[in-house]
Symmetry: C2
Subunit: 502 residues, 2 copies
């Protein structure tokens, strides 16, 4: 048993007489006077399994009761795993405190592909900057997603209807193999539990069926440290489910996940209520990067732009942005302390589009994202949104007005509708963030200034770099800089300026 790594007990027993999905088997793990109760599951062939994620080191005694029984003890020692990723403020970190910055990608139907494609996908991921993959439990029926999977989550009953009480153990083994393989590469599975793109009937199961499915899935999967729950891809297009159903799903997840994995719900048009207490982060579908700061203030949770269109050339508007645009969107997000998720949708003769099936990455955005990741990972801490004190440019008279509460813009700003406020931000936004007073970053996006400023603290000194995000180059232009620093820029799009304390 290793700290932060899944520990599995495998026990023989008589096959369940009733539901195989809800087979009653429970373990108690005790360590240093603390008891952890975890439910096990039936894995077919007379085998029951109990999985446990030990979060502290020490001697554990365990006792399994129910459809299978047993007891024993295990010493839990430190391993290599950093534990689960958790939200901390508007950022993420592993349980052991190590910083984790999500750089996600999307392979919706990864678990429903042939082994060869899955292997190719894993190979691609080895050479890519991604440390989170959004993928689904249920197969997907959609354009470029027409292949029939080999296995499904359940068996069918005699009438041809899915029998959620009879898991297809082959499917779950395949899904787990993927989750583990990704996990061992340092990649989180942002596992999508429901979605609307369905021709088999999974999207329209009754809530009683959904509940059985969820309880089984969570008892099997919760002990993996590298798993996140995404209740849905596009919950608002799951027309068979109401908001009450989603609330019930949250409750079931809470009941069955003893560890509190990250939990969110992704939408198409109608934002989910990210203020709900068990929702750990915002899983957005939009490109309003200028609103990241507002949302962080509102929800006090991390904001991931989990769908900000995909690099590709298909006819769907959400699947045909350029690599440069994709990388641009990442820069907008990360320089304001938010996060984004990649996807790729290039038409392909073999009909294997990354976003659907995985395979090979064809686009240029992963290289651009890797360059950004290198810079973000080097920063001394997580980036937070930074409102640069630009009023310093307006001179002492204006400053005095601000100090006297007479800034004439205050009343004007207060009069703006959300749309008017957003319109201004969309037009003029420079995406800027900081790591305390240790680093400041500004990303100019589509702006092409030949000169700009960065307003640094006056009592520290900084190295200032000009970054060309297209060319993936960094150039130090100032050393020992402090206060308002003017910097020459090439008058091109996609430039950034980074100041790091010397």
């Amino acid at each position: 048993m290793k700290q932060y790594e899944m520990f599995e007990l495998s026990l023989k027993g008589n096959p369940p007489e009733g539901s195989e999905a809800l087979a009653e088997v429970e373990a108690v793990f005790s360590c240093n006077g603390t008891e952890h109760r975890v439910k096990g599951f039936y894995d077919g062939g007379g085998i029951y399994k109990v999985r446990f994620l030990p979060e502290e080191c020490g001697l554990y005694t365990w006792k399994v009761q129910g459809a299978a029984e047993g007891e024993g003890q295990e010493e839990c020692v430190s391993g290599e795993s950093h534990g689960m990723v958790q939200a901390e403020g508007c950022h993420f970190r592993y349980e052991d405190g190590t910083r984790y910055t999500p750089f996600g990608t999307t392979v919706y139907a990864l678990a429903h592909q042939e082994e060869e494609i899955i292997e190719q996908t894993m190979e691609s991921l080895k050479n890519a900057p991604f440390n989170k993959v959004r993928h689904c439990v249920f197969p997907k029926s959609y354009e470029y997603n027409q292949n029939e999977p080999e296995y499904f989550a359940f068996e069918k009953d005699a009438s041809g209807k899915w029998d959620v009480n009879r898991p297809d153990y082959r499917f779950w083994a395949c899904l787990e193999k993927i989750i583990v393989e990704l996990g061992e590469m340092g990649i989180q599975s942002d596992l999508i539990l429901f979605h609307p793109y369905d021709r088999w009937g999974f999207a329209t199961m009754a809530m009683e069926e959904n509940e059985i499915y969820l309880r089984y899935a969570l008892r099997r999967l919760s002990a993996f440290p590298y798993i996140w729950w995404s209740m849905a891809n596009e919950y608002d297009l799951c027309f068979a489910k109401s908001l009450d159903d989603w609330a019930a799903i949250e409750e079931i997840i809470k009941e069955e996940d003893p560890y509190g994995h990250l939990l969110s719900n992704h939408y198409c048009m109608k934002m989910y209520d990210y203020s709900r207490k068990d929702i750990t982060h915002c899983s957005m579908q939009n490109i309003l990067f200028f609103k990241a700061e507002k949302w962080m203030k509102k929800y006090q949770k991390p904001v991931i732009y989990d769908e900000c269109c995909y690099e590709g050339n298909i006819h769907f508007a959400w699947g045909n942005i350029s690599a440069e645009e994709m990388v641009h969107r990442f820069w907008c997000a990360y320089c304001t302390g938010a996060f984004a998720t990649h996807g790729e949708t290039y038409l392909s003769e073999d009909d294997v589009l990354w976003w659907a099936k995985g395979g090979k990455l064809k686009g240029q955005s992963p290289a651009g994202i890797a360059f950004l990741k290198g810079i973000i990972d080097e920063l001394p801490s997580a980036v937070e949104p930074w409102t640069e004190p630009e009023y310093l440019l307006f001179g002492p008279e204006f400053l005095e007005k601000i100090q006297n509460g007479e800034n004439p813009f205050d009343k004007l700003h207060a009069s703006l509708t959300e749309t008017e406020d957003d319109a201004g931000a969309l037009k003029d936004k420079v995406y800027s963030g900081h790591c305390g007073e240790e680093a400041f970053i500004k990303y100019y996006g589509i702006q092409c200034p030949a000169r700009s400023y960065i307003m640094l603290p006056e009592d520290r000194t900084y190295k200032v770099e000009v970054i060309d995000t297209r060319e993936k180059t960094r150039k130090t232009v100032l050393e020992g800089a402090s206060g308002i620093c003017w910097v020459d820029l090439p008058g091109k799009e996609r430039m950034a300026v980074l100041a790091t304390e010397e």
Copy 2:
């Protein structure tokens, strides 16, 4: 006297004893039993002028009374002028029915430059695609706008305060020369009556002074057919004026402009109320091109994105977009039946930035705008927003649902906030317009499809062209096309598809 051309009477009289700006002189022009009363103005040196814009042909008798007197008659015959530009629905046309599509540019302080720069500006405009110039009556004090003008609209009194009752006739002659010269090149003056960027005191005059100034300006200028009134540049930053003041300004303009020139009010952040009855069109500052259709529906007036940032490289966010981005914004606007205004802000050794002073155009966007203008001008009529019936792609089942009012998306759409609705449009928008059933245009903007469709009427046939807005090329890809037509595209940004009836 020529139809739609300014006719001027110049009469001698004693200099006014009171206000020179409000000198009482009035003319009646009668033709075919209709009387037109117009006020004249004092032009200094004992000269009173009455200007009249005849809108129909025929024999006019005129009689001037007041500080100067006279009478006579004139035959008004057809000339070359098409008359004033007027709004018709969400488009513009000249009085004689000729189509007018505004392609504006911005030279705020044009009238406050030295003659050499003004001449250079006129020369530049001869070779540019622009047919509207936004420029100001009052000089501008701002970065890159620091030169002191030679003349101002008024003389100063003994205390050094502007005396609005004493116009500086040299200034007005200079302003008129510019307006006439532009007009004769087919360029409308979108004349800005107030603005906040001031160091001389024009922005903080009392309303009584504003009124005198406006009455004088309008009596002088209203008879020019090629003039529009822009009450302000950024009315909401004119902190000395209230909304009531703007309403009063509208009233004064209505009283003093007998012809009903186009009238709007440009804003910085807080949109003016474009539903006000005397406002003829929306003069926007934002880049929300996806909202053009909504605004047209709401206001039933043309929408001009009069400030959608400027091509250039200065440090201000509003003044450093690339030529390509500028042209892109024009395409977004025009393909949905809206309009946009250009400006240019390249740093220059001689400190002459086009947006401020005119001079030479340095950027590449005018060429791109000219290419767009060529295409728009060739279209059979003004473009209107087109919602392509994309649901046709979803197959007969979905169509049936729509027909039965069972489209599950309806409820979802109805639940969206304005922000959510806009977010979707911003992400996925293809900018599409049509000219009845005679032409359909789609601009893909940042989308890079390798294949797309255009949904044409089934009972007509069309020529379909693929337009590369960057390369400024057009290529016919289909002839005799009708119904849902799929078209190969190069998978690059900034492409358009145009279908015109054969």
